[in-house]
Structure formats: structure tokens, C-alpha cells
Symmetry: D2
Subunit: 328 residues, 4 copies
């Protein structure tokens, strides 16, 4: 995509120059207003961190009550994504799913109705990377820039401002995006062209789900074969079975302190969210004809857990789900 700028012929060169000037005027203008659309569990603390860093925030949420708090904080509340786009040339969106993102960007009152040329639109939602690419195309047609920047880390990290952002998009825009994202996260990683931020996130979460279920299976089997859980965890962690789920977030109650398994699987990363991310991985794998035998099975397991009362428990509760014993 960078080639577009480098190898320009005369006409597109002029357009490109204009584009760069527009971009520059925006990128330099720090502390000009920043739009924020989607003030839910995650968006709320993220937007607050922008306020704390001195950015005037132009806020919108489909539920007006979600905006009230921001009015009190001095943010300007608007009536639609289009209105946000009219008032801010840098916008962050944080939405629950692909259809929401499509609506917010391309809907009847969507951002694209009033987006200014050269605007920087950063989508931190976790959605299908194919949808990110579609949005990027639509945004680019309007002369603006789109980047996908999904986050890793939950509500706690959002409050503490130490989320990880995985960013996809044109590389020369990365610094501009980073300026804003570092207000909300401690780790901002450039992943490649548009969609690769989503790709990195869903690949990580698919592997996470697989290794969490694997850890739960291995711990459960070991316990039934007579091993002490703490000892087994210690052995795994010094061997080739070691993984984040075994050494940092062990799913077996009593093995570690300060993790959801020590607190009846409350807090953490909900099973229903993991099921959603695995659904995205599944769709991406289907679209690219990539075999993901364990990833698809992990998806089914979290899907079944959601239906068995685990929807709101941390995803490490898969240990509890699997350990239940046969009762007649």
C-alpha cells in the first residue's frame, strides 16, 4: 500500500500530495478534538484516559446514558457517528461486533456521511479482518485513513491504561495512531497492512483458547491419575508443556493466587467473549481455507460452555466444566 505514495504518476501524484498535506495538518494538530464512538465496558475507561491526557473528546454511544458521564467530564456529546466525524478528524471506535462497526462507519448516519478528507479513523473493535478491509476501502474512497487496532487486555487494563494494541494499516500513519493509542495502552505493535491487527489478535486468542483447554485437560487428567495439582503445574512449567495458561493464569483452584481460578472464575476474560473471538477465527479460517482442527474444536467447547451457564465466567473455567464427574 505504501507503493501508492512512492510510485505516483502526475495526476495521482497531485492527489497524493494533497493527501499528505491534509494528513500532516491533522497529525501535527495534537490536542485537537478526538472522537470516540462506543462507550461500553471497554470504551468508557479508554475514552477517560484520552480525557486525562488532555484531549478534548467528542463522544457518541447508541445508548445516550452511556454518554452522560462524559458530559460531566467536559466532553462534547453528539447525536450520531456522522456528527462526530464532522467535529473531529481523529476518531476511535470501540464496538461489540462486525455489524455494529459496519453500521457506525457506513450506516445512514455513519462516519462516512460527514468524514473529512485526511481524517484518521482507528477501529479498536475486535471484528472479522475481512470486514476491516472492507471498511478500509470505503474510508479510503472518502480520502481518509482507516486503521484496525484491536486490544488485548480486559477492563482492568483499559482502566490502568496498559492495554496492548495490535495495529494494521498504512505504515506511515502508524506514528499518528500511536500518539493516541499510547494514552490508553502501554504496548502498541505495528502488524502490517489493514486487517493484520485483527489477524494478530484472533490468532493469539485462538492459540490462547487451545492452550487453556489443553492445560485444563492435562491438569484434570493428572489429578485423576493421582498427581498433586501444584506439583503437576510445577512440572509442566519447567517442561515442554509450559504455556501462559499453565504458568501465569493456571485454571485449577489452589495452584496460583490472584487469578480468576482463585476467585470462583469471576473477573478476567469472559467465556462468551472468547467464544466470539473463536467465531471470528473460524470465519477467517473458513474464508482462507485454512485447516484449524483444534481451533474449531475450541470454538465448539466454549460455545457449549456458554449454553451450560459459564457465559459470564472467566474462560479458564473450562477446567471446572471438564472436571465435573459422572453422577447417576
Amino acid at each position: 500500500m505504501t507503493g501508492r505514495v512512492q510510485h505516483d504518476s502526475s495526476v495521482s501524484g497531485l492527489l497524493s500530495l494533497t493527501y499528505r498535506l491534509l494528513v500532516c495538518s491533522r497529525a501535527m494538530a495534537s490536542k485537537t478534538p478526538v472522537g470516540f464512538i462506543g462507550l461500553g465496558n471497554m470504551g468508557n475507561p479508554m475514552a477517560k484516559n484520552l480525557v486525562k491526557h488532555g484531549y478534548p473528546v467528542i463522544a457518541y454511544d447508541v445508548f445516550p446514558e452511556a454518554c452522560k458521564e462524559f458530559q460531566d467530564l467536559g466532553a462534547q456529546v453528539t447525536d450520531s457517528p456522522a456528527d462526530v466525524a464532522e467535529k473531529a478528524d481523529r476518531i476511535i471506535t470501540m464496538l461489540p461486533s462486525s455489524p455494529n462497526a459496519i453500521e457506525v462507519y457506513t450506516g445512514a448516519n455513519g462516519i462516512l456521511k460527514k468524514v473529512k478528507k485526511g481524517s484518521l479513523l482507528i477501529d479498536s473493535s475486535t471484528i472479522d479482518p475481512a470486514v476491516s478491509k472492507e471498511l478500509a476501502k470505503a474510508v479510503e474512497k472518502m480520502g481518509a485513513v482507516f486503521m484496525d487496532a484491536p486490544v488485548s487486555g480486559g477492563v482492568g487494563a483499559a482502566r490502568a491504561g496498559n492495554l496492548t494494541f495490535m495495529v494494521g494499516g498504512v505504515e506511515q500513519e502508524f506514528d499518528a495512531a500511536k500518539e493516541l493509542l499510547t494514552c490508553m495502552g502501554s504496548n502498541v505493535v505495528y502488524c502490517g497492512e489493514v486487517g493484520t491487527g485483527q489477524a494478530a489478535k484472533i490468532c493469539n486468542n485462538m492459540l490462547l483458547a487451545i492452550s487453556m483447554i489443553g492445560t485444563a485437560e492435562a491438569m484434570n487428567l493428572g489429578i485423576r491419575l493421582g498427581l498433586d495439582p501444584k506439583l503437576l503445574a510445577k512440572i509442566l512449567n519447567m517442561s515442554s508443556g509450559r504455556c501462559w495458561s499453565s504458568d501465569t493464569y493456571n485454571p485449577v483452584p489452589g495452584v496460583m493466587e490472584g487469578v480468576p481460578s482463585a476467585n470462583n472464575y469471576q473477573g478476567g476474560f469472559g467465556t462468551t467473549l472468547m467464544a466470539k473471538d473463536l467465531g471470528l477465527a473460524q470465519i477467517s479460517a473458513t474464508n482462507t481455507k485454512t485447516p484449524v482442527p483444534l481451533g474449531s474444536q475450541a470454538h465448539q467447547i466454549y460455545r457449549m460452555m456458554c449454553a451450560k451457564g459459564y457465559a459470564l465466567k472467566d474462560f479458564s473455567a473450562v477446567f471446572q466444566f471438564l472436571r465435573e464427574e459422572e453422577t447417576l
Copy 2:
């Protein structure tokens, strides 16, 4: 099992005393002969390390040619496991499968035909923990001691003498076992009662197989979605998807040096061996009614790989197996 010693009534107390004396006389007699049965790829370098540490070795293998080398090294070669048991009261066995172990211990010319009271029998084979327990019972009836001590680490570690041993059996015998095992390994871990050494090993390897396949799936999906493999590995390794298979033994050629994926998947831990260990995990899970949805799927995947020409490749070749693309 230690209760047997502590809460003894008068008669069993006397037996226990005799037992302890027998055990003591053996345990103190360092550098008395050590039997070694099974001189294959792993047993060969392990037995050599015992020789290097000054132990007179009494050797046996079902293939006489496997013993020749040891004759040259000054070891005494015998005609049967029973003969080994006649000449040594400490014996290490290293056999390919459960049926072999049953034959060597309880067969017509097996160890138990001539085992001396108080002998220490250490089985380093990787077998069904239920079989280890059966063997332990049979050995105990003869007044001897059985421990299971499967190893982690391949031929290279066996040669270098830095295997990991996971040991199950009566705790007060652990020191006696450790004396010998430290000649062959750098890490000797006590796991609990008989069978828990096997349990620890198969739980670790099941989790290893799952996270390796998961890593291969995630890397392959990420690459098809446009991510650079090195960058993706880096992101996973600083995130919750991190595991030994991603950070120490990455299955994607070009990501790391000095691992089988950098060398056409030669060397390392063969797919056929992983399939064997997963079969043991499956049988243990079936016997204990433990659900292992990903473990059983991992077993099937390695089973299919064996039939598709990957039997002798390192188990990280699952990446290659999954990455192949549709051809018409």
C-alpha cells in the same frame, strides 16, 4: 503407601524391619552392579553414562547385537532379564511399550523369576500408568521395590546425560533411585506414588502436542491473513498465546534457528513417538473417564500424520502438514 511402614502391627512390623534391612544393604552398596535391560536408541546412551560413572553394568537386550558394544566396554552381558535379576539388585529397564515391559518383568524368563528381595527396579519406559501399577504390585509381592521413572528429552539429552526423570513410587526409595538417575539426567523429580511418573509425563506430552498443533494452526492462519511469521511469533510470545512451542521450538521454518523446523523437521521428537504418547494419554483418560476433547483430537491428528509420511519427522512438522494448500 508409606502408612504400611508407619502403622505396623507386630507381625508386619517384623516383615517391615527385614524389608528395611534388605533395602539398606542394597542402597548403601554403591558401585555394586547395576542391571540395564533395553539398549535401544535411548537405553544405549543411558547405560553408557552409568558405565562412565563407574557402575559395573549387567546388560541385556532382546537383540544380542545391541549388547556387543557393552561387552567391549566391560559390561557383563546376560541371556535374559531373569539372569540380570540374579546378578544385580538394582535394575533399570528402558523398553518401547507396555507389552514389552510386561514380558520383561513377568514373562517366562522375566526379572521376577529370579529377583532378589529388596531389589530396586526402575522402569524408565513410557507406558500406561495402569500397567506400571500392575507391575509394582507384582514386584512388591516378591519383596522388591518398583519405581516408574519415564524420561523427558530425546537421544541428545540421553547422550549428554541431562534427561529429566519423572519418578513415581514409595518416597523413601526416591534417594536410592536418584543416585542412579542423576548419572543419566540433570533433573530428577519426585511425583508421588507408583504410576505418577508416567502420569506426569503423559500429561506434559498431551499438553505439548495440543499447544504445538495450536501454534501451527495460529501461525498458519496468521500467515494466510497477511502477517509476517517472525512478527506473529514475536507478538504471540509477548501475549497470552505464548507457549514452549511458540517461543522455544517454533514450528515455522525461518522463525528460529537451531530447531527442527530450521532443518526440514529432522531430529527432535518423532511424530510416531508423539502419537504413541497420545495413545497412552487417551487410554488413561478413557480408563479414568476424563474428558480430553483436544487431547483426543491431537492424537488423531498425529495418527493421520503418521499415515501421510510424517512418521519419522519431528512432531513440529504438523505445521507443514496443515499448511499444504488445496491443489486441483
Copy 3:
């Protein structure tokens, strides 16, 4: 959806009346031209059967050479789907995938650019039922009628005119659709509202894939345990394991005559097509949060087969895929 017609208030009643008149004029006009878009392996013989039944056909295919044959048969060949819509008020589309269907209906030169009010548009492609619903909405906005009518039965059935059509859409339009579909199929089943034709097809094919793989696994296991394949098939077919894959389309060479397994898995229903349908089932299941543990695994197995050289073989070749034995 029928409620719209029954419970109409005055204004919508008038619209409804107009609508019914338009529909009537079209439905009565038998032997008026019928459009056919998509003249591939399936569309070609289907369209020919319409010609045979005396319907003037207005043809279009993205590959002009696919149309030549129809010109010779007296069909009128057009330049775009829009042109077809201008000349025919009954159109059948037979396209390879969801994106193609979206393009043909809603693209720059798509049907909807020139569709006449009251037209009947029947899509026989196998696509995501959610896409069928979207297309139906877009068609309805133009005052026309959309039905999904995917087929079961391959190229042979298409030639012989004995396909099965599974039809979704407004019930009162079913007879009009049936008039055309019976020229191409011997079995036309009404399934319910728009999208249910697709739903019926992907549910059937998902179950088919699962029971075919299950039959292959059971036959292979039985053979390795010493059973004669013909005898085992006979036992399964008189027992509770009986299924179409075991009694009508047995995947084991030598068990039945006249099936792909008797002919090196040539002909029949290709593995790559089964993988496609399972992908649709997977996406529908993900979207409706329905757990399909075996359906998703079946998808992965056919995906892997495509990458292992089975893409063009009949889907019963899964027996061959699974029976291969370990070779060192």
C-alpha cells in the same frame, strides 16, 4: 411473511393488491422467456432442460464461451445480468458462491438495476442463508420476489432432470417457482421462509459429511479388527449404524457396485464442494451460536483432504484418506 398479505391495512392493502396483480400476470404467462444466469457444470444442463421444455431462455454467463452453445440452441445471449432482467420476468441464477450471487444481484450491472416489478427471481446457488435473506430484502424493495432453491444431486441428476430443489420463500409464490423447477428436478420441496431452502441443504449435507466420515471410520476400524468389509456393511445396514453412506454409497471399494468407491472415487460429489458446503454450515452455526462439534470437525477433515490431493475425488474418498497406514 405471509402475514404481510393477510393482515393488510388500507394502504399496504392497495400495494399488496397491485403486487398480486403484477405477480399474477407473470405467473400465468407460461412459456414467456425465462432468464438463466450461470451456465457452469450445473447451470448448463439445467438451462438445457428449460429449453427442452419449450421455454425461451435468455442466457448470461461471466464467461462468454459458456453461452455459445445456448446461442446455437436458439437462446438469446445477453451482456449482463441487468440485460437478462430487462428481457425476462422469471430468472434462475446458479452461481458458485455468495460473493458471485451478491455481484449478480446487486452489482453495477446486476439484476436489480433493471428488474421489473413482480419478477420472480430464483437462486439455485448454494450460499449462506444469511446472504439469501439479504438478497431477498433487496429484491423485495424493488417490488420483485426472491426465492432460494438450492439443489441436491450432481451433474448427472442435472442432466437427467431429476434434481431435488429445496425452496425457501413466500409460500404463495411456490407454485410459480415449481412450474419452472419441475422442468429440471423430480422433487421440489417447500421448506419455509426465505433462506430455509439453503438451511435444509446445508443441514442435510452436514449430516451427510458426518455420517460418511463415520462410515469410513467404522469400516476401516472393523477391517483392521479382522472383519470382512462386505459382511460388516451388511451388519451395519441391518443395525442402528445404518445410513445412506453405508447402504447406498458405501465408501469401501468392493462393497458395492456403481458407486464412486467402485471407480477410484471418480465422479460423484467432489471433496472440494463438500468442503464448501461445510464451510457454509460452519458460518451459519457460528452466526446462530449453534454448537456443531462433529460438523466443524468434518469441515476440517474435508479441508485437510483438499490439501492432500483429494480435492477432485468424490467425498467418499475419506475412506481412502483414513485407511492409509503408517510407513517409516
Copy 4:
């Protein structure tokens, strides 16, 4: 195995002759006593059918109370399997699992302690075919004959005397076995050498489990996509998805009468029994290195169902298990 009789040299010929005479004397002696070991849910009605057909029954069960009823019916109750073997030269065993069968045949008071030469021992338990083969070897050493003859059909069929027996063993003994088995079953099928009766049963049940889960998934997905369950069942049953689970034992309440799904999944074939049979299939597959990707997944699903309160429900309750919806 028949070769043993056909190609005999002089000495083994003499032994063979003796053997055939012994066998003959027993096989002709109809209405001589028949031993029956294992009078549980299935064994009880089976043994009663033998009594009804005029056979004097020599009974044993590990629970003495299970025998009382037979004492009242005129059967002779004994103290051990060995005692049964002393009094009857035709014995049927019906036991819950492999370890029980091993104990009854080879235990301290097992059949083999007092079995008469030429006796016919028929094991109707469902166990690992490898165990059947081991038992057959041990029985043969004592000069007697062993056949495996597991049943299909539940308690109802056992009462009605219309079980199906799948019989493995020496073919020339089949008629002798059939004489007894036809008193208890309407269908007695010869499958091949020892172990093939078990093999046929577990292959059928593995395929049954797979197609039942597949039917449940397809019906559930179809319903969520808007299809009427009865209509969907009708479509599947006239298409390639048709199977015994869809057309004879449909798992969806309301689709069929007179099946467990019409009666809250009571009666029928319990989930815990299906899980057991799938465990045997898994062990056989592991031992023969046969890939059974869906069979192993079906095993895991029934295992999880057992732990989620479905142990005693009919195995078609997998529909209920999968249909549960996410609740927050």
C-alpha cells in the same frame, strides 16, 4: 483358525480328533444344563429365556440376591464361576466390563479352574476385542472353546427374546452356539474369528453415536435457521443425510412417536453405556493405530454428557445437550 483342523499332521490330528469327539458329545447333548454367569439387567431376562426354552440353568452372580429369583425358577445356584464350569459344559457369561470378564474366566475361582475339555464358553459381554482374544487363548489351552457374542438391543429386546447376537469364534462351533443364542435372540450373525463379534458391535455403535450426534447437530442448526423440525426430518429422510437416527429414532421431541425423545429421553440406550462402548472403540482404534477423528470426538461428547447429568438418559438426549442456549 479352521486351518488347524484341515491341515493336521499325525499327532495334532489325533488331538484334533479327540477334540472333535469331545465337542460332538457336548454339541449333541441338547437340554443338558447350561451355565449362566452374570444375572444383571441384561443377563436376568436372557437366562429366563433359556429356562423358558427348557434348559436347566446353572446360575451364578457376584451378588447372591441376583440369583434368588432363579432358585425359585428351579435353576441351580452355585458359589463361583468354577462351580458353574464343573456342572455345565455350555456356559454363557454376561458381564459389565473387561476386568469382570477376566476375573470370571481366569480369576482364583474362575471358570478355567474347573472347565471341562470340550466345553463351549460364550461371552455376551461387550468388552475389548483384544481381551476376547486373550480369553480365547486361555480357554483353548484348557481344551475348551470360546466365542464372543455381544448383543445389540436393550433390556426390552432381552425380555422379548429378540436380541441380535454378533458372534466371533471357530466357524464349526457356530451352530452349537446358535442353538442357545436363538433362545434369546432373533438374529444371530456369524462375524468371523474370535473378537470379530465385539468388533462388529463396537463399529456399529461408534457409527451410531456419530450419526446420532450428527442428526442432533443438523436438526438443531436447521431449527435455529427457521426450519420446522418435522419438515426437516422428512427432507433428511428422503435425502443423503438419512440414517437410523433420523428416520427411526429421531432425537427431537415431537418429530416421532414411541421413541425416547417423545418421553423425556427415558428408557432406551443410556448415555453412560454409549460412553462405555465408545471407550472400547477408542481403545481398539488406538491399539490398531486407526484414525477415528469423529469417533473419538463422539466419545468425548458422551463423556461430557455423563458429567452434566445425562448419564441415565437415552443417548439421543445429545439433542437436548446441544440445543441449550446461552444464558447470561
